[in-house]
Symmetry: C2
């Protein structure tokens, strides 16, 4: 881990050895970062896909990854390099347990890497939640979040929170500020649904970020924060129309969408079929249609899939309401 | 007027001659545009100061300004050039009443011009509200707003709505979008108060705008829209702490505050005395402390006034809760 996280001095007192589990299996969800208009500050969690982490207490001290499934061999098995094990190591270190506590980790990725759906965040959050659960949950979610952000930095090269915050907290989250970290949970209008399409084209997060210019026109920024404000108001007012007309991105989408084949055509299909809004999920290439209900999202993802398949572009599709829980213990 | 406003074709049918008044006197309030973090999109109305417009129906067709008080001779008496009369002319023209309806106007300015408190907007809104009231109120506030924006453009050279929208609508308003115009009324937390200081230094709106750079750093814009989002959430949550820490301006204040003598010292006085936030009102030189109650705002404005007076800088001070009504008929 590149950053140590200071936790309060009384923490070791919170560890109740009676509550330490032998094994825990945790699911953490994929996330849609940015929510189209809120670059780097907004995100929401979905029900599926997501990643699974199993942690098992063993006699030999230290943290070891024993298996990773579903990554096509792309993720490091080195405990210091993999975000899941590195976060566990850091937490054990901060708790003063490095010398005495041993953990074996199995990671099962159910979602594609580099999809724009917070793949590394899902693994990180599952891992952080799992080690905490194994220890009897001594840390609150607020206390776990800095570990997740440090894990994200290790995995992606930047410590953004717009995937890890919603993956950990569940629901729709606002990162009001990074320094100091200030996370606000926003209300989730009933029925609000995401229809997600992940086209099988490669757009690494780093490349997608490098496309974005360092400076933007102030007049475009004004449009963007008007839309951010409208989206927040729309969520509190339960106003789907306002949510829809606010979820427009005049700054990032015009640049990043160039990397996504058929973006304009997919957007047209979504809007013609009743989507409140359509845009890029995170840094792409996944795209997301925001709808009032699951039926609408299912229709849109099916029609986009048919369109892409005609052009011989494979894709995954997902339909999900907002996941209000975040990570959960499977067994 | 530089722009004609299309109103719906059935409008002439709405004029009920029995409801046409002989005379009306209207007050419209000053406004705090930007609300520190929301450049060009947010604003709120205050109880005082504000401007008064009296409109009197006369036999001779046309619109005439018969007197302006409190402007030190700075405002035009030419009916086509003064925003109050120009808006009245435009509304009468759109209603097809130019040939038959005569109006005399008296304008009393109770607030300084070029103060950053929406002086021209207060006059414009008072005038637009007055001509509508004189005609028996055929137009809704939503229909009146485009006239106010056109009047603001005539008076200031730009058609921003962050003063006229709150002056007309009352309360706290979000201009989500200018094209199409999309105004959202935001909740007003009970007690929220403004302590305003107008130091007697000259900062014309046009100069204050020209200081602002055309391009801004994206990373600063992200901070700004995080704060905008936090402020909107804070208003809905009735969360004064969140409101306070969100009302920070990293983009405009660093540039515009250079034009305002003693800005840093005034900010320090405000924050040391419990202000939730402190910043520039509109384009300045007025400054505003946002507080939880009137007592706090009164203390802060008094202390700032004492500080400025020691330096032989005169100022006006105002303490006001958010004005939820907007313009009102005095008699």
């Amino acid at each position: 881990m590149s950053e140590s996280n200071q936790i309060s001095a009384d923490l070791d007192k919170r560890i109740d050895l009676d509550k330490v589990l032998q094994q825990v299996r945790v699911f953490a969800p994929a996330t849609v970062a940015n929510m189209i208009c809120g670059f780097d500050i907004l995100g929401f969690a979905v029900e599926a896909p997501g990643d699974e982490v199993t942690m098992r207490r063993v006699a030999q001290p230290g943290v070891r990854i024993v298996s990773i499934k579903g990554d096509d061999g792309r993720l490091p098995l080195d405990a210091a390099q993999n975000t899941v094990s590195a976060c566990a190591l850091q937490i054990l270190s901060d708790l003063g347990l490095t010398e005495e506590f041993g953990v074996e980790i199995e990671l099962v990725k159910h979602m594609p890497i580099g999809s724009g759906l917070g793949s590394s965040s899902a693994s990180t959050v599952a891992g952080v939640f799992a080690i905490n659960a194994l220890l009897g949950s001594p840390l609150s979610k607020d206390e776990l979040l800095p570990y997740c952000i440090a894990g994200e930095k290790l995995a992606c090269g930047h410590g953004h929170a717009d995937n890890v915050a919603p993956a950990l907290m569940g629901g729709i989250t606002l990162i009001r500020s990074y320094d100091p970290l200030d996370i606000i949970s926003l209300p989730v209008p009933e029925g609000l649904c995401a229809g997600i399409v992940f086209p099988h084209v490669d757009v690494p997060t780093r490349d997608a970020r490098q496309l974005i210019k360092e400076r933007v026109l102030l007049k475009d920024a004004v449009v963007q924060w008007g839309n951010v404000a409208g989206l927040i108001a729309g969520l509190y007012r339960n106003d789907f129309e306002l949510i829809g007309r606010s979820m427009q991105d005049v700054l990032i989408e015009p640049v990043r969408s160039i990397l996504i084949p058929q973006f304009a055509e997919m957007k047209q299909i979504a809007l013609e079929n009743g989507a409140l809004s359509f845009g890029i999920s995170g840094s792409g290439p996944s795209v997301v249609a925001i709808t009032r209900d699951q039926d609408q999202a299912a229709t849109i993802t099916r029609k986009i899939q048919e369109h892409l398949n005609q052009l011989e572009i494979d894709c995954n599709t997902y339909v999900s309401n907002v996941n209000q829980q975040g990570p959960r213990i499977l067994d």
